[in-house]
Subunit: 238 residues, 2 copies
């Protein structure tokens, strides 16, 4: 474990639970931000001045239930999430885990166990989420340079104007150089939401436009390759 003090977001509408668990977690060396409903929890997460290392969330909360909160957190973060609930049915457990929670503990619980599980999750998180995972700001391929800080593409030193969608597609494919993406996967990543057959053509049009912009000969692409029947791939550089 690193030396710094980790901050845990603890959200439960039962004040006694928040107080009790806070005690144990603080005793174990954590810093705890305790709140009593889902909305507050979400607000804490949106604040820039409080970095949360892990969340311990009750399911049944006013303002925003735990499931919704898990989903929202997962849109932007990989932080460990542990769910607490008085529900003992398994379908609720499975739903929580499917939504992206990392653990699910039913009440009543032993606070020491919660503490151990939080520690285990954080240990794992910081072991696996190495500094090497730090995002590169620039991705280079041949004469192309994608700058993700400024959201620009340059080819041989000259900026190529991209539309938002073109940029997002290229970003996805260049970040995952070599990997084949189906049209539906591209759609889901770039547009979000569900893919329908008719969206096929939309993706293809954008791919075509992107090729016009980045390839020397768009009809014989060097970077943005088609894998017929499977999808598209940004070529790994040689």
């Amino acid at each position: 474990m690193e030396d710094r003090k980790y901050t845990i977001l603890l959200a439960d509408d039962e004040k006694e639970i928040v107080d009790l668990l806070s005690l144990y977690l603080e005793n174990a060396g954590f810093s705890v931000i305790g709140v009593f409903n889902g909305k507050e929890a979400f607000d804490v997460l949106c604040r820039k001045d409080a970095f949360i290392d892990a969340a311990v969330l009750d399911i049944m909360m006013p303002g925003m239930d735990g499931y919704t909160l898990v989903r929202k957190i997962r849109e932007t973060s990989n932080m460990p999430i542990l769910i607490l609930s008085a529900r003992s049915d398994d379908s609720g457990k499975i739903l929580g885990l499917d939504l992206g929670a990392d653990d699910y503990i039913t009440k009543p619980f032993n606070p020491l166990e919660i503490t151990a599980r939080v520690q285990a999750q954080l240990r794992r998180y910081y072991r696996l989420n190495a500094p090497a995972a730090q995002a590169q700001e620039r991705i280079t391929a041949g004469g192309l340079v994608l700058d993700r800080a400024s959201c620009t593409l340059t080819k041989n030193g000259r900026e190529i104007p991209l539309t938002a969608i073109e940029y997002r597609i290229l970003c996805l494919l260049m970040e995952n150089r070599g990997r084949v993406f189906t049209k539906s996967r591209i759609y889901e990543h770039v547009w979000g939401g569900d893919f329908y057959e008719s969206d096929d053509n939309t993706v293809m049009v954008h791919i075509s436009k992107l090729r016009d912009k980045i390839e020397d000969d768009p009809r014989n692409p060097v970077y943005l390759k088609t894998v017929r029947g499977l999808g598209y791939r940004f070529e790994k550089e040689k």
Copy 2:
């Protein structure tokens, strides 16, 4: 591509549990290696031909108890580990988690919950640990290397162009090396939908084309074998 099959090591001295859980995990799309004591489990982990994505281990096992096994696994691997135990005392749980287990589930349990927890652990593991994910996206057999990220096949370092259907058939068979697939099973996996008699020949044509591409002598195939009356099998590597 993202849909490869994960392999779970399942170790418990109660055969009924191994059988039951295997059923559920296999139904969820996992490949399961079931063993009945700690020593066997450790032996499986030392084998080079079986890459284990996650382990589900009982604590009280002959040959090597679960705690020892967790410690040994953690010496060399970050794979997700889930512990099963009849013990309900919390100190055992906490010890397991401190040793490096990622989850601890007390018996009796719902197999669906175990499955969901395995899935959650794997999801997290491969989201946070990208290099590990990539290592497993290649399957090697002799001079053949199937790369499932880029959807390419290379033979002795040179890329062999495959059509989408050829690629899918080969993927299926190489992922399940050694296993016989009937023509109808191949059809259902690769094409989806129902198999009719007339599709027999379609499958055979593709197999023939695939042999042309991957075998040194397609008429005397070394990799892609026919099991007369039963189906086809990609030979296990020697």
